[in-house]
Amino acid sequence: MVKLKTILLVEDSPNDVELTLEALDEHGLVNRVITVNDGVEAMDFLLCREKFKTRPQINPAVILLDIKMPRMNGMEVLEAIRNNDKLKTIPVVILTSSREEPDLKKCYELGANAYVVKPVDFQQFIAAVRQVGVFWALINELPPQK
């Protein structure tokens, strides 16, 4: 049985969540998307704690991570993931509105696998998200887990 590959979407804006899910829906990936609203929740999910205590301890295929979020922002999440032996191999795609160079630089330094600026044009946005989703969730082979 093929293991269920999940996509973790970390996004505080419900509008963006909705639009992102719309985009992913086109490829039937939407069912596999788990959405959390900020970094804290994202870490809870990844470390299977709090409300995610009971979930199966399987890492997501990819994490789509917004930067600007309340409580714990995307970069803090990324740093935590890369510093955690169990999580550090998870591909992280930064999905953000920021085209600022310092953000870009910092994210890559922290170990982001990709950096996607959300286009204002929805068609472009759909295209981008779909490609990201398809690539990371379906095509990319994960490194073997310990």
Binding site: D16, I67, E101
Partner: protein, 833 residues
């Protein structure tokens, strides 16, 4: 008185009488004696036996008496004759008398003869004699013998010879050097005493050193090759002949070869067989020695006498010559000295003309007139060349000195033959004979140069005095006292008076520690002492001086004059110092303010960044949402919407998109302005080619003709420069895309300081009257409907180029295209090697 004998008295008495008379008068002429002897001889011949007294007479006579018989056989000789002939009577008796003579005068048997001749002694010595013959007759008057009285002439001849040599040497000395004279003397001496060696040495007064002066010609040629003429050497090192100096008496070594205490002769020295050395003594000191050597026979006392005489003669002549030479030399020296003296020596009368009795030739150099002109006022008087303005003054001064009988020194002007005025200095005095003034004697020298120098010095001193008086620096001079333990004011200029608020008269002669009690505390005093000791100038800056009377900052320069005085040149810099302090304070205030401003600015920058970030992030999100949901609405519910509704939605979507682009461009512009430059050598050619390729591939339908110059490597921020090129080139593309054949030219030129780039298109161009608006943000010259764009691109270009210290410009004409130019500094052109 003649010693006549009386016939009446007995013979013995007569002889006794004769002897007594002879003793009284030894210069009795031989003739008289002969006559008397004649008589006695007659008596003897007449067999009157010579009695004891007669025999005594003959024995004591200094003249030789020889009696021969008629056959010429020797019958009688007295002891003097034995001595002369060097043979005893017993040996000579009956021998022919002719043997004794070199040439026998036969006529003595015929008549009475008086003449000179030579006899040859038994030992072969040739002795000059005067002979006097007398026939001896028997009682019948028949000749039966001859009596010969011989007087030895050796001495007489010797003295004649001596006189002759002496005269010869005197004559010789007049036109020959001392060395030649000595050699000549030695040549004569050696000839006289038949010696092959002859030498003459001077002995220095120390009696220790012999000065080898001369050798006889023969000696020099044949013997003494030891080249020692003029050599000084110590007597203790000299040969045995030097004993004559040590002992101050003549030395004769007839047995030189067998001597044991002789010294080894130097190599090349003649072999010495015998020698004789005589000293010349003056004032109990040996002044010279004359030596002869290697006579074939022993040196005799007569040799000694001759050598002695000639040594003396020679010394006298040599000494006289030396003295003459000295006198001549002194005279010459004096004359040379007078000639070379840098001045004129004179002797003149104390009259109105200063009539010259003597004047040295130097007056020609001084005045241009020969000395002869002034002597006895022959051509002109000395008074006539004295400057008229000085005449009375010098006369007054000279008369004053003459009255007091003291020397005078005067300075005055003369007028030379070329009408030049010269300054002279004269020192003179009166020459008095008991009471009367005989003449003036003195010395005049040219001091024109000195006078000129003095005048210039005076001028320069006045000039410097002027400077010192009027300078805005304080100038103070001090003299060290008590070996540098304090300094006394010797000069104090007006500026110092003003600065220190004290007059010159109040300080001159006073000690610096007295006038400025604070000088020791200020540290300047130590500098004074240091400079005074070392002579090296010192700068002592911004010194704070303070005492009860004056205070202030002083900038001191201290140095030492060649006269030993210490000079300080200083300035009151109190005001400047205060101003400086004020400036320093302001500066530190300013720094603080700059810090504050910088901090504020940095806060503002941070805020701006945060703002940009917000714009970038937060402003775009809602746009995206609008866009996204409009899109979803259109996709999912378009059928439910009327056409109008769909149009509205489309408009909303477009506006949102456009706003997105605007925001992006604005952010880019903001980034371009804020970003710090990171310059690297950047290959413009590569960069431009990349952009062209990208543009071509983006619009594959459009066939643009690209004309690109060879572009250089330029030091710049590559990311920003790429933006510049992209904006300019895409602009060119955009505004020429409606042309049938777009041509875009990218050019480059450079000079030593600058690179010039240009992007030229043949597109729609623009109206030059709007050129100033071209580079403003959101400025557009074309309708958005004609050409897309936000109007930010060129503003970004302008910002980036300005950051690179370059300039942008544009030229264009409507419908004929546009050219955009920018320059960059040509600093580091590491162009392909």
């Amino acid at each position: 008185m003649s010693p006549k004998l009386k016939n009446s008295t007995p013979l013995s008495e007569q002889i006794t009488d004769l002897i007594l008379r002879l003793k009284k008068n030894p210069s009795c002429p031989p003739e008289e004696l002969i006559r008397e002897l004649d008589r006695l001889a007659l008596m003897a011949h007449d067999n009157v036996p010579l009695d004891h007294f007669a025999q005594s007479l003959l024995n004591t006579m200094s003249d030789a008496v020889i009696v021969s018989d008629i056959r010429g056989r020797i019958r009688q000789m007295n002891p003097a004759a034995e001595l002369l002939t060097e043979g005893r009577l017993s040996e000579n008796r009956e021998l022919p008398v002719t043997d004794i003579f070199e040439t026998f005068p036969e006529e003595v048997f015929e008549k009475e003869v008086k003449d000179s001749t030579f006899i040859i002694s038994r030992k072969g010595n040739r002795v000059p004699v005067i002979y006097h013959s007398k026939q001896i007759k028997d009682q019948k008057g028949k000749p039966n013998g001859v009596i010969l009285v011989l007087t030895n002439r050796t001495e007489e001849m010797l003295s004649e010879q001596m006189i002759e040599i002496r005269l010869k040497l005197f004559e010789y000395a007049t036109d020959h050097s001392i060395e030649e004279l000595l050699t000549k003397t030695l040549d004569e001496v050696t000839k006289l005493v038949n010696s092959s060696i002859g030498f003459y040495h001077f002995v220095l007064p120390d009696q220790e050193t012999i000065f080898l002066q001369a050798w006889s010609t023969d000696t020099e040629e044949k013997f003494c090759r030891a080249n020692s003429k003029g050599l000084h050497y110590n007597i203790s090192e000299a040969g045995v002949w030097a004993d004559c100096v040590r002992q101050k008496r003549p030395i004769i070594h007839n047995d030189y070869e067998s001597m044991t205490n002789k010294r080894g002769l130097p190599e090349g020295h003649a072999r010495v067989i015998r020698e004789m050395v005589v000293p010349v003594i003056r004032n109990d000191k040996v002044v010279s020695i004359l030596g002869v050597g290697n006579k074939p026979s022993d040196y005799s006392s007569s040799d000694l006498r001759m050598v002695n005489i000639l040594a003396e003669v020679c010394w006298d002549i040599a000494e006289k010559k030396i003295n003459d030479n000295l006198a001549k030399e002194n005279a010459r020296k004096l004359s040379t000295m007078i000639d070379n003296l840098n001045g004129v020596i004179f002797r003149c009368a104390n009259d109105a003309d200063w009539t010259m009795e003597y004047m040295s030739d130097a007056v020609r150099k001084l005045s241009g007139y020969p000395a002869g002109d002034f002597i006895d006022n022959k051509v002109r008087t000395f008074g006539s060349i004295v400057h008229p303005d000085d005449q009375d003054r010098i006369r007054e001064e000279i008369q004053g000195a003459l009255e007091k009988k003291i020397p005078y020194e005067i300075e005055y002007r003369i007028i030379t033959s070329t009408a030049k005025i010269k300054w002279v200095w004269e020192r003179g005095r009166g020459v008095f004979d008991k009471k009367n003034l005989l003449a003036l004697e003195g010395f005049i020298t040219d001091i024109t140069a000195r006078k000129k120098f003095e005048e210039e010095l005076k001028k320069s001193e006045e000039k410097y005095q002027g400077i010192i008086q009027n300078t805005s620096n304080c100038i103070v001079a001090y003299k060290a006292v008590d070996n540098g333990s304090d300094f006394v004011f010797v000069n104090f200029n007006p500026m110092a008076e003003k600065t220190e608020n004290i007059t010159r008269d109040e300080v001159i002669g006073k000690r610096v520690t007295e006038v400025f009690p604070g000088v020791k505390d200020s540290g300047l005093f130590k500098i004074f002492q240091q400079v005074w000791r070392s002579g090296n100038p010192e700068y002592y800056s911004a010194l704070m001086y303070t005492d009860n009377r004056v205070q202030g900052y002083r900038d001191n320069y201290v140095y030492k004059l060649s006269t030993g005085e210490i000079v300080t040149v200083y300035e009151d810099i109190t005001e400047r110092k205060l101003a400086e302090d004020e400036i320093l304070k302001l500066n530190s205030d300013l720094e603080l303010r700059v810090k504050e401003r910088t901090a504020q600015l940095s806060v503002a920058n941070k805020e701006l960044e945060a703002f940009s970030y917000s714009v970038s992030h937060d402003l775009r999100a809602p746009l995206r949402h609008i866009n996204g949901f409009v899109d979803l609405l259109l996709k999912k519910y378009s059928e439910a919407l009327p056409d109008k509704g769909q149009h509205y939605l489309n408009t909303i979507a477009e506006s949102a998109n456009r706003m997105g682009i605007l925001i992006d461009d604005l952010l880019q512009f903001s980034r371009a302005s804020r970003k710090e430059l990171k310059k690297f050598p950047t290959d413009m050619k590569e960069m431009v080619q990349e952009i062209i390729t990208a543009i071509d591939s983006h619009n594959p339908k459009q066939k643009i003709v690209w004309k690109v110059d060879d572009l250089p490597v330029v030091d710049c921020d590559d990311a920003l420069m790429k933006q510049v090129w992209f904006n300019l080139i895409s602009n060119a593309v955009k505004f020429s895309e409606k042309k049938e054949q777009p041509v875009i030219e990218i050019g480059h030129k450079k000079d030593q300081t600058t690179h010039y780039f240009s992007v030229k298109d043949n597109g729609v161009g623009f109206d030059m009257q709007y050129v100033s608006k071209l580079f403003g943000v959101f400025q557009r010259l074309h309708a958005a409907t004609d050409f897309e764009g936000t109007g930010v691109g060129l503003a970004i270009v302008q910002r980036i180029i300005a950051k690179h210290r370059g300039v942008v410009s544009a030229e264009g004409e409507l419908n004929k295209g546009a050219t955009f130019k920018f320059s960059l500094p040509n600093i580091n052109t590491q162009n392909n090697g």
